[in-house]
């Protein structure tokens, strides 16, 4: 739908409303007059006055020697046939009745005309004088200003329009003024009222990806526009949160990958170590674990990863252990599975769980001293433990290692990679991840997942 500018629309509505108000007001006051409640009692027949006057004026004619007289036109004659009691009288500027005037009116009005009234409502002696139906007023005629008196005229429906048009003519100045003023007022009110929206528009035009934290100023806008501006602010808020989360994710991803890539690059530059090829392979595997986990997290974030699948974590962990076994052996470590050979079911997502577990195993193999053994345990209560015997995680760092951008102190390099994302993923799976000490030294990472109720 094409939208019209607001100001002209308001002006249009106002003018229509005023016409309607006049019509209603006129109708009500006329009705009240007729009911005798108004200031001037009135009657239906009094509405015919102005037509009767016109007919009287039309009937004025001058004879050869310039004397003006009433010579009823066909129209007046037929009107008189319709209203047999109709009387017409016209007085010249010398207050003399013109020939053809009704003698009864002449005799009654001659003394009144003497005082040149602007108008007079009158009743004949036999009339019900409550609402006088006689009317006399000076009027412009082709023969100058003459007093025209009518009486006994009879209402017909088109008199309503006549009467209405007459009153409009009388009130034209008021009308014009009201229309002009309300147009100006409406224009001003709309323009002025919407002015703050221009400021909002300016503010909105300045918002881009770098300034998503900005909000539109709510208290300058009219109350009516507040829901809109408020809703836009809320949308901005959601965008802001989402964008911040995404930026954090990107930064995290870059951060998580920078270290292993740097290690890989350093390895290529350093003098060849005897197990060079294997080390390269291990570096690549570590990177791919992190990428796997990042992608699972990204998918969970955009909600394309179903998070309520039935997953046999025992089977998943066994597969993870199997996958890591060769790598561990080649690296001079051992890997061990401690858990049931049967199933342990949880609600979650296989890909996400495996990504996290693979990452934990990778970290553990890295922390484990040469010749040691990393153990992965699955408990019947759906907790998974990844146990190493390395340097462990200091008490103070146990929370921090799951924060984005956390770097463990030198010497324990490598541990902690991907843990922020692991935590995000696990919390999406409605689980918990934390770290404890391995009895005798080392770190034990634990994940608890929601058990599936079968």
């Amino acid at each position: 739908m094409k939208s019209l500018p607001l100001a002209p629309r308001v002006v249009g509505y106002l003018i229509v409303a005023q016409l309607f108000a006049f019509f209603c007001g006129w109708t009500i006051s006329t009705a009240l007059s007729m009911a005798g409640i108004g200031v001037f009692p009135s009657s239906w027949d009094s509405l015919a006055i102005s037509r009767a006057q016109r007919q009287a004026i039309a009937s004025l004619a001058a004879d050869e020697d310039g004397a003006v007289r009433i010579t009823p036109t066909q129209e007046l004659l037929s009107e008189i046939r319709r209203a047999p009691h109709m009387r017409v009288a016209v007085f010249d500027k010398f207050k003399q009745a013109l020939p053809g005037s009704d003698p009864v009116l002449v005799s009654i009005l001659t003394p009144v005309v003497g005082i040149s009234p602007t108008h007079v409502h009158f009743a004949l002696p036999d009339d019900d004088s409550f609402a006088p139906e006689g009317f006399m007023a000076p009027m412009r005629t082709p023969f100058g200003q003459l007093h025209i008196a009518v009486h006994g005229q009879k209402f017909q429906w088109n008199d309503l329009i006549d009467a209405w048009a007459f009153d409009i003519k009388v009130l034209a100045a008021y009308f014009a003024t009201a229309a002009v003023l309300s147009t100006a007022t409406a224009w001003f009110a709309v323009r002025n009222g919407l002015l703050p929206l221009r400021q909002i528009a300016r503010e909105a035009s300045l918002i881009d990806m770098d300034t998503l934290g900005n909000r539109l100023t709510l208290d300058v806008v009219p109350t009516e526009a507040m829901p809109l501006v408020g809703a836009i602010n809320q949308a901005l808020e959601r965008l802001d949160v989402g964008t911040r989360r995404q930026r954090l994710f990107t930064a995290n991803a870059a951060h998580e990958l920078r270290t292993p890539v740097a290690v890989l690059a350093a390895r290529l530059d350093a003098p060849r170590e005897p197990n060079f090829e294997f080390q390269l392979r291990r570096d690549v595997w570590r990177i791919s674990h992190i990428v796997h986990q990042l992608l699972a997290e990204a998918r969970a974030e955009e909600q394309t990863l179903p998070l309520d699948e039935l997953v046999d974590v025992a089977a998943s962990v066994r597969a993870m252990v199997d996958d890591a076994a060769l790598l561990a052996i080649r690296d001079g470590r051992e890997i061990e599975y401690l858990g049931p050979s049967g199933a342990v079911f949880v609600r979650g997502n296989k890909v996400a769980i495996e990504a996290v577990v693979a990452n934990l195993i990778d970290n553990a193999l890295r922390a484990e001293p040469r010749g040691g053994s990393v153990a992965i345990r699955v408990n019947e209560n759906a907790t998974i433990e990844v146990i190493d015997h390395g340097a462990g995680v200091a008490e103070d760092d146990r929370r921090a290692i799951f924060e984005p951008f956390w770097r463990m102190s030198e010497g324990a390099s490598g541990a902690g990679l991907g843990l922020a994302i692991a935590k995000e993923l696990v919390s999406k799976l409605k689980g918990r991840i934390w770290v404890e000490n391995t009895p005798g030294g080392g770190a034990t990472f634990k994940i608890s997942l929601p058990r599936a109720v079968l």
């Binding site: 294997f278 690549v284 066994r318 199997d322 076994a325 060769l326 080649r330 401690l338």
Partner: protein
């Protein structure tokens, strides 16, 4: 024993093809679905290695057509990292197995062998690990080209392990392979055979090792890579 690799990344295709050829399989490489259709119509392949994302569509679309022409054909999907759920849809589409990129070369070869091991697989080349060679057709085992003799259970153990070379074979499946479904076999019995086989292979200089993965089973791999 012919394999068709459908992979559009040239460097990847070249490296994977060289790896597979090195393991004794014949391999052809195509880079598009259209070329794959053409190749499958022309030549009889035993195994398809399908990349999902190809310039002219989803590699899975080749699968149906290939199965139609050669009902016994094996298919392994190679899925990209960013297509985690492709694993599932790959299997749903009828692939025998899937492998997520990047994969370890040893893993790929193991999967290819595993694929042929399933019913319907065609004649396979002997599996070579270190100096050891195992012919699955004849159960002939040789070290550096000379045939060696093993006890029946040692042979079955080696056969099972060698088919999953570089990967863990679970103790449960070893027990089933060697002892059938007897439940009263003690774990120590299996350990005894494993120790014996280890000693034999070591004495013969087979350059392979059988590693214990506690809680899981055993893993046979080339020595000291």
């Amino acid at each position: 024993m012919k394999i068709l690799l459908v992979e559009d990344e040239k460097e990847m295709a070249r490296l994977v093809a060289s790896l597979i050829a090195h393991s004794g399989f014949k391999i052809d490489v195509v880079t598009t679905i259209a070329d794959a259709f053409h190749a499958i119509r022309k030549g009889a392949y035993d195994l398809l290695l399908l990349d999902r994302r190809l310039p002219d569509g989803d590699g899975a679309s080749i699968l149906k057509m290939a199965r139609h022409l050669h009902p016994g054909i094996r298919v392994i999907m190679l899925t990209a990292l960013d297509a985690l759920s492709d694993k599932i849809s790959g299997l749903n589409a009828g692939a025998d197995d899937y492998l997520t990129k990047p994969f370890q070369g040893e893993e790929l070869i193991a999967r290819i062998r595993a694929c042929f091991r399933r019913p319907g697989g065609e004649i396979r080349p002997p599996i070579v690990v270190g100096a050891l060679s195992y012919d699955l057709q004849t159960d002939d085992v040789s070290v550096d080209g000379s045939i060696i003799h093993l006890s029946r259970r040692e042979l079955m153990l080696l056969r099972t392990l060698v088919q999953r070379v570089s990967r863990v074979t679970s103790r449960d499946s070893l027990l089933v392979e060697i002892y059938g479904s007897e439940d009263d076999v003690r774990d120590t019995a299996l350990e005894t055979i494993v120790s014996r086989l280890r000693r034999r292979l070591s004495e013969l200089g087979a350059r392979v090792e059988i590693h214990t993965v506690r809680g899981r089973g055993y893993l046979l791999a080339e020595k000291g890579l």
